[in-house]
Symmetry: C2
Subunit: 199 residues, 2 copies
């Protein structure tokens, strides 16, 4: 819609995210958000018809920011694909560890949506798998990650690293050995892919 006032969807989501972060998910209702922005409920409802829609949108926006940060790593053709695959997997884990530490309220909202098989969570996984596929495809192209099906290979690598990105393991991400464990798994997988295991 043409923005005649500063109240666009993004402003609503930024306010919702801030409320979530400060006061927890129970306070992030349409009424709370409208009050914070000094607008009518109707103005917010026009963009987000329910608290659920608002929560999904704010979580999606939050996840999309991590996705975009990871996309930069996935697309960095200056880094050889095998090394890039390892760096990217470490960045996925580091990003989730940081989210739990710094954004526990938004992480909790994400975990709830994931448990409910919300499209927000499945889309995020699809996005990550797409990035991993792009890295493997780069390796297939230059011969460093030999495969004739980059997508299938990426899926195997993603499945074999579930401990380091699947929400069911969130409690384990604070274990002191977790980064070493991921690195060991990466080395074994890269060996399996007949790829160089170090730069």
């Amino acid at each position: 819609m043409p923005a005649r006032t500063p109240l666009d969807a993004n402003a609503i989501l930024a306010a919702t995210e801030e409320i979530l972060r400060r006061h927890g998910p129970d306070k992030a209702t349409v009424v709370d958000v409208a009050r914070t922005l000094g607008v009518s409920h109707a103005a917010v409802y026009k963009h987000f018809p329910s608290k659920q829609a608002l929560r999904e949108a704010v979580t999606r926006r939050w996840l999309d920011r991590s996705r975009d940060a990871l996309a930069v790593i996935a697309a960095d053709s200056a880094v050889p694909p095998a090394q890039r695959l390892r760096t990217w997997l470490h960045a996925v884990l580091a990003g989730k560890q940081a989210k739990i530490r710094e954004d526990p309220e938004l992480f909790a909202a994400y975990a709830i949506l994931a448990a409910a098989h919300s499209g927000v969570a499945t889309d995020h996984v699809t996005d990550l798998l797409g990035q991993l596929t792009a890295i493997v495809a780069d390796g297939a192209a230059d011969g460093s990650l030999p495969t004739d099906d980059a997508q299938a290979t990426a899926r195997v690598v993603f499945n074999a690293t579930a401990k380091f990105h699947h929400l069911g393991h969130a409690a384990e991400w604070q274990n002191p050995g977790i980064v070493t464990e991921l690195d060991e798994v990466c080395t074994l997988l890269l060996q399996g892919l007949h790829a160089p295991t170090s730069p």
Copy 2:
């Protein structure tokens, strides 16, 4: 203790397991078990001082039965170690799928204990890791799974297959593609271990 009556710990646990299975965890109290066995509460309390102790013991006994079945596979020296590793990982998954399907009440009791980091759950993981280590050690001995640290290698394989044995993934074990996914991961890991990937 010398059994002057048929009421030993095993009889209590068998009755508790049956009650759990038929009526769910809420009915598996010391009182219910004593009533089923036709003995006094005190007779049961002598072996298990609380409902929690009873639940832990019955879950441990149930898990130990799967552990023992898997131990037969792990120790089957007629099967080459690489193939045995793959067969064992498939048996772990198949066992968990069967448990969810056939013993949902006991599986739920196990999931609760695991979430609470009960020794029952961590001991079970230690037992499984020990079996996997024994398979890898057999492969190290005959040169088919080259490694100078069987325990470390087993841990990496266990971490890389978390999707197929960690309770956080239980919902995914009913997906139609899950067995194929495990097989693909096994193949990649065996390649990484420089092991034969088929019999």
